[in-house]
């Protein structure tokens, strides 16, 4: 059947589910998994494929490779800033939520920070699964109102005259931050550069200032 598109009806379904399912998450999931498999609504093998995709294949290493290439290849950097979806597809990283990808670049006067206040939209194909804090109420509530305080909790200080540019992912565009290349990395090749790019730096909650060039030599 088609969905009802009826808010009151689904709210009532949620209340019934709340009463009928065990409160403990692991037990709820177990109960629903066996029911959904028995009902023929999900295939157990496909479940493992989904889980393994985001543990073994798709993760922030992809984003780090994209950033390292942008740091070392001006042509790629220009294509990434113009059409990030196409640029990451060049690297074989097209996937979930990469279709309307937008790359935003940190500079000496701009620090970018990505959030989704209404749900938790995230560029899965490039950064993998979102960290727990990205999906948490605290981050969603505070990063638009008090971005500098949130950044300080992550050890990032933005100068008073520099701007924090917050990107609230309210549509199907997905944002990734291109952090500034740390000083002292001139001699590093693309692979070594990719190794120092953190997942948080591509969300905006790290500025890679903790990078120690001596440690990488």
């Amino acid at each position: 059947m088609e969905p009802s598109y009826d808010s009151d009806k689904v709210a009532e379904i949620h209340r019934h589910l709340h009463s009928h399912l065990p409160p403990e998450p692991a037990l709820r999931v177990k109960a629903l998994e066996s029911l959904l498999v028995e009902k023929g609504l999900v295939d157990p093998v496909a479940l493992d494929t989904w889980i393994e995709a985001y543990t073994e294949e798709i993760g922030p290493k992809r984003g780090a490779m994209v950033v390292a290439r942008a740091w070392t290849d001006d042509g790629f950097r220009a294509r990434l800033l113009a059409d990030a979806g196409a640029a990451v597809a060049e690297m074989g990283f097209a996937g979930q939520a990469s279709g309307h990808l937008k790359a935003v670049e940190n500079t000496d006067t701009i620090h970018n920070l990505v959030v989704c206040t209404l749900c938790s939209c995230y560029p899965f194909a490039i950064l993998g699964m979102a960290p727990a804090w990205y999906k948490a109420n605290e981050y969603r509530a505070r990063s638009v109102r008090d971005p500098r305080e949130v950044l300080a909790e992550f050890g990032v200080t933005v100068a008073p005259d520099a701007a924090v540019q917050v990107w609230d992912s309210t549509a199907e565009l997905r944002y990734m931050v291109i952090p500034q290349r740390p000083a002292g990395t001139e001699g590093l090749d693309e692979a070594a550069l990719a190794a120092l790019v953190t997942r948080n730096s591509m969300i905006g909650t790290d500025d890679l200032k903790g990078f120690d060039p001596k440690g990488a030599a």
């Binding site: 689904v10 379904i13 399912l21 996937g95 279709g99 206040t117 699964m129 609230d168």
Partner: protein, 216 residues
Amino acid sequence: MDGVHDLGGKQGFGPVDRAHEDEPYHGEADARAYALTVSLRGERAYPVDWFRHVRETIDPIDYLSRPYFDQWLQTAVAMAIDAGDLSMVEVATGEAGDPVRTPAPMDIAAVRTMLTNPANFEREGAAPAFAVGAKVRTASHGHSGHTRLPAYARGATGTVIAYRGAHLMPDDGARGIERAEPLYTVAFARGDLFPEAAGSPDVINLDLWESYLAIG
């Protein structure tokens, strides 16, 4: 809808907890809940905004306190019950009646296709009414359905910094109507959204559909 999901700018929340930040899933149940949700939705062409809206209708206490993928799974199950693929009796008893035969459950090939094919939300639509650089004012009120204009950005004046093409309109999508509308990125001074930030150089950028906006 004016639900608790609309968290942007709400005050009273404490520090961001970074525990387990490098684990893709937070335990086996979390991973299973994720996989069940995406598999259950897979072949069924529900608009993503109906999924988002169904999640928004979770009881507010549950919304604020239950694990993220646990909420996703409850949402997917609520959608299956709503669409008649599953019954509340089956959930309550844990015993499945006759199996659903169509569509067939998502198989590995279908998962691989979804993992490697970005969805495209851009469609043919009306030409944009606002130019880049235009001052625009957002709507002062929301409505009881799904919408993507957060409450903290209502009745605010900002500047169009980009036109993104005509994209599927979420308020309609959550009602089962496929319609595209011009989408813009609009920049707001943080001080214009939150009075305590007056004079701040910080900017909050939102992607907003044309019907959320008027010339400011």
